[in-house]
């Protein structure tokens, strides 16, 4: 099996889908000729032509609005918002339109669109190139929200997203585009080559939306995470020596409640890690769900390790970032409660 970076895996997913389905179109700012600022769409315009893969005006609301219209026609547009930080100009088209077309028309019209967008920090992007706004979208009824943590999942989930008949917001943790990450900014980034999650089949396969992955079985506590934090969590577990069960959620909506509940009932403890700011973050929702469904099994309060409630500060990003040390301390606190 070839080894791929997450960028290559995403490119491969779009390539496979453009090949299989003439109704798939890819567009966004700089995605055509240049192949996207992160090169996720590199080579696709050349291969599929500029009516299937093309550049758009710098108008996020226009990109998503046009995609909604195309989706209503019956196409499956895959659009790129250059950075998740710039998704806000498209909010109305996403939350009021794409998310509710099916509902408001009683099922007559749908928007089977996929919105890809790079998110997260750790590349010195400052406060306008580092945000993780996934929780905002999980609050919107009718949108599916996905965030992969590795190339294999990224490809399988993106194919499932493109094939999905509902609108999907697909967050790509850009810290993981080129290699896995153990949360230590002073250590060089390892390449995905040789990493088991970097082994990606060339052809078609899908990972169903709404299924979490148990990455590390454990008995002492349940660690819920997704995206870049999966790698931080695995590092924290290795460094602390605590026998934690690490669950990569992969899809936030729909959420795999069964896997979460089964794990917490078994371990009796739960720690949640995400990179996004704390207040109103998805961790709050996870915590509430676990409390509602597993209260009698809990032996310690649920802990959330998150980014702080500040914008992402460039010079201090490693203080903002929840690293393995912070996660490790939380694991210890929960075990010692």
């Amino acid at each position: 099996m070839p080894s791929m970076t997450m960028i290559q895996a995403l490119n491969s997913a779009m390539d496979v889908m453009l090949e299989r389905d003439p109704d798939v179109l890819v567009f966004g700012e700089d995605v055509g000729y240049f192949g996207g600022v992160f090169r996720c769409t590199a080579g696709l315009q050349k291969k599929y032509g500029h009516t299937r893969v093309f550049d758009t005006p710098i108008a996020e609301g226009g990109i998503v609005g046009a995609a909604v219209g195309m989706g209503a026609y019956g196409l499956r547009p895959v659009v790129e918002i250059q950075f998740a930080d710039y998704i806000y100009p498209a909010m109305d088209q996403l939350t009021s339109e794409a998310a509710r077309l099916r509902y408001r028309s009683g099922g007559e019209f749908t928007a089977p669109i996929t919105v890809r967008t790079p998110c997260g920090g750790g590349i010195y992007g400052g406060q306008t190139h580092s945000q993780s706004p996934e929780a905002i979208f999980t609050h919107v009824c009718g949108l599916k929200t996905v965030m992969p943590s590795n190339p294999y999942d990224a490809k399988g989930l993106l194919i499932a997203a493109i094939e999905d008949d509902d609108p999907v917001i697909f967050f790509e943790p850009k810290r993981l585009y080129n290699g896995p990450f153990d949360g230590h900014h002073d250590r060089p980034v390892k390449p995905w080559a040789g990493h088991p999650m970097g082994e990606v089949p060339e052809g078609y396969y899908r990972i169903p939306l709404g299924q979490a992955a148990v990455l590390r079985p454990g008995a002492a506590l349940t660690l819920l995470c997704y995206g870049t934090m999966v790698h931080v969590a695995l590092a924290a577990v290795a460094e602390s020596g605590i026998d934690a069960e690490v669950i990569d959620l992969r899809t936030l909506v729909p959420l795999d409640l069964d896997t979460i509940e089964a794990s917490v009932r078994k371990t009796g403890r739960c720690v949640i890690v995400h990179e996004a700011t704390r207040t109103g973050g998805f961790g709050a929702e996870l915590s509430a769900q676990v409390q509602e469904t597993c209260f009698s099994h809990l032996e310690a309060p649920i802990e959330r390790i998150t980014g702080w409630d500040t914008p992402y500060p460039l010079a201090h990003e490693w203080h903002y970032f929840p690293g393995p040390a912070r996660v490790g301390e939380a694991l210890k606190r929960v075990m010692e409660f």
Binding site: R102, E108, T110, D166
Partner: protein
């Protein structure tokens, strides 16, 4: 203080700065006065459809008209419509007006919560529907019910949507008048103004991508042109030369704000097109023949591969904005009657009468017949219930959020007892 760099010469001392808030000329209490409205006198010829948009600038400031004050058609915009076509148009406009009256009464008697009429604007939706093919996709605002009526869509189905009853195809989820009728190529209406404009552009791009022959057409009010989506639509339509009709219905009012607040005091809405390199035409929206002619021109242009046209229909919203609105609070009584472009139904009627193709007796008979049609449809629709009565099951509330019901929604539905 004088400066030596020439600034003094341009205006001397620095004055306190000002800005201007547009105000309509008349407010309640004063007599309505539309004398300021200057209708262009010169007749604009019908240009070939392949005319480049930079040759069409005067069309954005003029007014495409066919019917004169004598109710006769003249000029080379005259679309040469047959008497049958015109009578069909008259019928649909009249049916639309009677439908509005009946539904407003339904609102007043508590059978539904809300209603919006299109009184005075009937020619736009009806003539455009008749100019478009039945399968061209319409992305309307809430004031184009005439599209469905002209397309012969079921009045009972429309009424059920207004009454939010068990026959409502949207299962009681939408504000009345926010119709959806995919079979009639009528896109689901959003309550968020303007969002459909760029969606129509996307739809038309998809149609062109598939080698389809179906156009898209979209409608916004004058007030809505200020929304970003309007500008997204014009940019995308121009950049990708999209086969789409972008219609602005300038009915002079956006709820209580006159068209000057949306920018209509400084230029026309059709002229917005110029900056994007699109043709913009200002059209007498109360002239059924002019609406049809201009729409046909834009359609021919789109079908021939020349892309989008912006059409501004100059008209007047004769009735209240909605059943929740009272226009006597912001404009003088009787203004509608002074509208210099008249009433669209009356004008088409007089045109047919002048041509010897219609009579007062025929008109009275048609009005009586359509009143009966509406009454019968009303009865049938009410047999499916009215607001607060028979409705779809609350169980359906959880349907259509996603294609398949996810676990969390199944749990929530169970909590509600279904």
């Amino acid at each position: 203080m004088e400066t030596t760099d020439g600034r003094a010469a341009e205006g001397g001392r620095r004055q306190p700065l000002r800005f201007h808030v547009p105000e309509p000329k008349c407010r309640p209490g004063s007599a309505p006065d539309l004398a300021d409205i200057r209708l262009p006198q010169a007749r604009l010829p019908r240009p070939p459809v392949d005319t480049s948009s930079d040759q069409l600038h005067e069309y954005a400031y003029g007014l495409v008209r066919v019917l004169g004050d004598d109710h006769r058609a003249s000029g080379d915009w005259d679309p040469g419509l047959t008497p049958d076509f015109l009578r069909k148009g008259l019928r649909s406009m009249l049916l639309t007006r009677l439908y509005d009256q009946r539904m407003l009464r339904a609102q007043r008697t508590g059978k539904t919560s809300f209603y919006m009429q299109c009184t005075g604007e009937e020619a736009i939706a009806v003539a455009q529907a008749m100019a478009l093919e039945p399968d061209d996709m319409c992305f309307p605002s809430y004031r184009q019910q005439g599209l469905l009526i002209a397309r012969g869509w079921s009045l009972v189905d429309m009424m059920c949507q207004v009454l939010n009853n068990s026959g409502d195809r949207m299962k009681g989820r939408q504000l009345p008048v926010m119709y959806s009728a995919k079979e009639a190529s009528f896109f689901t209406i959003s309550g968020n103004l303007g969002t459909q404009f760029i969606q129509a552009v996307g739809w038309a791009m998809a149609s062109a991508y598939k080698g389809d022959t179906r156009l898209a057409a979209a409608w916004v009010g004058d007030g809505t042109t200020a929304e970003a989506d309007f500008h997204y639509a014009l940019t995308f339509a121009a950049v990708y030369r999209v086969p789409v009709l972008l219609n602005v219905v300038n009915n002079q009012w956006a709820i209580s704000s006159f068209q000057g607040i949306a920018g209509g005091e400084v230029t026309t809405f059709a002229a917005r097109a110029i900056g994007y390199g699109l043709p913009g035409l200002r059209v007498d929206g109360n002239d059924f023949l002019a609406v049809c002619a201009a729409t046909r021109w834009a359609i021919a242009r789109a079908r021939a591969g020349f892309g989008a046209t912006v059409l501004e229909f100059y008209t007047y919203r004769a009735a209240a904005h909605s059943s929740s609105d009272d226009p006597s609070g912001y404009r003088p009584e009787g203004e509608a009657a002074l509208w210099p472009l008249g009433d669209p139904i009356e004008r088409l009627k007089q045109h047919l009468v002048a041509a010897g193709e219609w009579s007062e007796e025929q008109h009275a008979a048609l009005t009586a017949e359509l009143t009966e049609t509406i009454k019968a449809a009303g009865k049938e629709a009410e047999s499916f219930g009215t607001l607060g009565g028979k409705a779809s099951s609350p169980r359906t509330m959880f349907d259509d959020v996603f294609k398949e019901l996810p676990q969390h929604l199944r749990r929530q539905r169970q909590q509600l007892g279904y």
